[in-house]
Subunit: 246 residues, 2 copies
């Protein structure tokens, strides 16, 4: 179970203390002195080209990854080929937490565009977080946040209708782009309709139709992967007070 494509492991020392993603990433909430000690943790960066795997289901787990640039999807495959996208990750977010439980990765992580991650050796992370209280606490928060996010996705998949799901998805993206200093209202989708559909438990045609419907009703302007949200509150209303809930 090795990646079929050779992967560049850059030998550049990354420094959390120098990173502008600080407040989105693992070091969030830590003191300056604590963060300085983090620099010993992040070994190397690794570049992953579009459509390449960062890791695959079944591979040995050794490290978690913080996204420095670019974005990823994670997915789980069934024997018969069905794919379930379990998440889309952007800069500052952590990949690989699934691997801790069995020491094998349990999902695939694929770059949606040319990307770069910081490699955080897991044994070192455990060691250091026994020494640095702030790191321990923050790491636990990151894991817990992932659990809460997952529960939100279950809500989406289990209890919402197609248009509510897509509206919730767009609002979530908007909020995350905002946190990264980008426009809340205008962004570029990194994933295909098929991938959005898989994530939302819908077929790509249904996603496409929902986009068109939102456009007709003046909520958004879509042009391929470019999205402009014209009526944020309108989308919010769709999620919270759907026209006709199940």
């Amino acid at each position: 179970m090795r990646a079929t494509v050779p992967i560049t492991v850059a030998d550049i020392k990354s420094a959390c203390s120098q990173c502008n993603l600080l407040e989105l990433c693992l070091p969030f909430g830590m003191s300056e002195t604590e963060i300085n000690r983090l620099d010993e943790l992040v070994g190397a960066r690794r570049k992953v080209k579009r459509n390449q795997h960062l890791y695959r289901s079944g591979e040995d787990f050794e490290a978690i990854y913080a996204i420095r640039t670019g974005s990823f999807k994670t997915d789980v495959l069934l024997e018969d080929g069905r794919e379930q996208v379990t998440g889309f990750q952007m800069t500052g977010e952590i990949l690989g937490l699934d691997g801790i439980s069995t020491e094998l990765h349990s999902c695939n992580a694929v770059a949606l565009e040319d990307s770069e991650v910081c490699v955080i050796a897991y044994d070192k992370l455990e060691e250091l977080s026994r020494q640095i209280e702030g790191l321990q606490h923050q790491f636990h928060k990151v894991m817990s946040k992932e659990i809460v996010r997952d529960h939100g996705v279950m809500m989406l998949l289990g209890s919402m209708r197609a248009e509510e799901r897509l509206a919730a998805f767009l609002l979530n993206l908007s909020q995350r782009f905002t946190a990264r200093g980008f426009s809340p209202a205008e962004f570029h989708l990194r994933m295909t309709r098929d991938e959005i559909g898989s994530y939302l438990g819908l077929k790509l045609e249904t996603v496409s139709r929902a986009f068109s419907k939102f456009q007709e009703s003046g909520l958004i302007a879509v042009q391929q992967k470019h999205i402009r949200i014209a009526d944020l509150d309108g989308l919010r209303r769709l999620v919270h007070h759907p026209v006709n809930s199940r």
Copy 2:
């Protein structure tokens, strides 16, 4: 946001070292000396009656809970009243991990029968797991396992058809009962059809019909909440090689 029903906090000291759920619970994989130190961690037990809340969404997070006897469901509510059950938990499993990220609980935990939990103060847990490597490692595994489980549920909700979902659900229960020394083939459901439906993203009528269909085809025998699995492999085939997958 307080529980409306008074809750008994038993003053009995629990001892992990004496507990027969050891290998299913937080202490799994720890050395004897490590486990002895755990006893200082588990403060008290708490009894929760059927249909009572262990905690509610929005309440302050202070502790996680290990189930000693009984079982629970966790759920998330939407403003308009829609409920999504996010999991069913049984003995040895840990509740409350959702609260770490914001220091507020983000879901509700409700007892499905009269139950008892061990209360694990979270600040103490962090402190002790900085000292006991085995505890730290095991706690991380528990969180990671929850993330992996959640991804499995996403697969279920996003990519499987009604009967596959129910078959997967029964197999999962069977496996967990087995791990607890009960029969893999015969057990009592603690939850209603409506709760199963919510968990699986189906209506209760659909759950009921699927049960009847499984019975007709000789896979199981159902009588209300009592389930006997007659053909485990048949159920497995349903999940892995569905007659007609999406």
